[in-house]
């Protein structure tokens, strides 16, 4: 289906804004990860990953959505389980978050919002 010009123009603006916000969320994730992926910051991590999971694919950024999905699923399990010292999956979540941040950082220049 070919979309009308008005749709594609606005969609491009929305996509650009979403990417801008995703870059900010990456910074939040990096800060949380630097403090240590732990039960205290799990709700915030889950919130960001849930948002990216549900939204990235709408803007043709499915790979980011998929990794965010992986982090969200893992985070939900860890939210009901033992503390980090007793469950090695917390380290796994840290790795997934790291991969997600790398993926966002590697967005090709054409995907980045116009800085002008």
């Amino acid at each position: 289906m070919s979309a009308p010009r008005a749709y594609t123009d606005v969609m491009q603006e929305l996509r650009s804004r979403f990417i801008q916000r995703t870059i900010q969320q990456r910074e939040q994730l990096k800060t949380l990860a630097a403090a240590g992926i732990a039960p205290a910051n799990l709700p915030e991590i889950l919130h960001i990953c849930h948002n990216l999971h549900g939204t990235a694919g709408v803007f043709d950024l499915a790979e980011i959505g998929d990794i965010a999905h992986q982090a969200e699923d893992l985070g939900k399990i860890l939210g009901q389980t033992q503390p980090p010292a007793l469950d090695p999956r917390w380290k796994e979540l840290a790795v997934v978050i790291d991969n997600l941040c790398d993926l966002i950082a590697a967005l090709p220049p054409r995907d980045l919002p116009d800085q002008a």
């Binding site: 289906m1 009308p4 969609m11 929305l14 549900g54 990235a56 694919g57 803007f59």
Partner: protein
């Protein structure tokens, strides 16, 4: 019992502003529907009463009042009790989908959705309800 023969008015409830804007854009410009949006379950009940939608699209995971709670609130008001509701969720587990349908929703749309196909998807749900 069916209301209008054609789906015309949609209320979309989601706490993610990007998704709300994309959905509105697609449903208005591609599917030529009249759309109103709100960002919380609490707003949704008042919006449904005022807007009288043919269909309500309800995000499942929202802070404060989530999708199922909002559906229960809609079902508890005489003005909105019979309005068709479809959930929108990133969940893929079939048990969760079945649970959502058992609450009285006419269907479940998966996130992320394809904006260009969203209108057809909701029209199919609305038609077969």
């Amino acid at each position: 019992m069916k209301g209008n023969a054609t789906l015309r008015r949609v209320l979309y409830v989601d706490d993610e502003p990007d998704i709300l804007e994309v959905a509105r854009l697609a449903l208005e410009l591609i599917s030529h529907l009249t759309v109103t949006t709100c960002s919380s379950g609490r707003e949704a009940v008042a919006a449904a009463i005022a807007f009288k939608p043919d269909l309500i699209l309800l995000d499942v995971m929202m802070p404060d009042m989530d999708g199922p709670m909002t559906l229960a609130a809609l079902q508890g008001r005489s003005e909105t009790a019979t309005m068709p509701v479809a959930f929108i969720t990133a969940t893929v587990q079939s048990s969760e989908i079945e649970r959502l349908l058992s609450l009285g929703a006419i269907g479940v749309i998966r996130k992320p959705f394809d904006p260009l196909k969203l209108g057809d998807e909701i029209d199919a749900l609305w038609t077969k309800r």
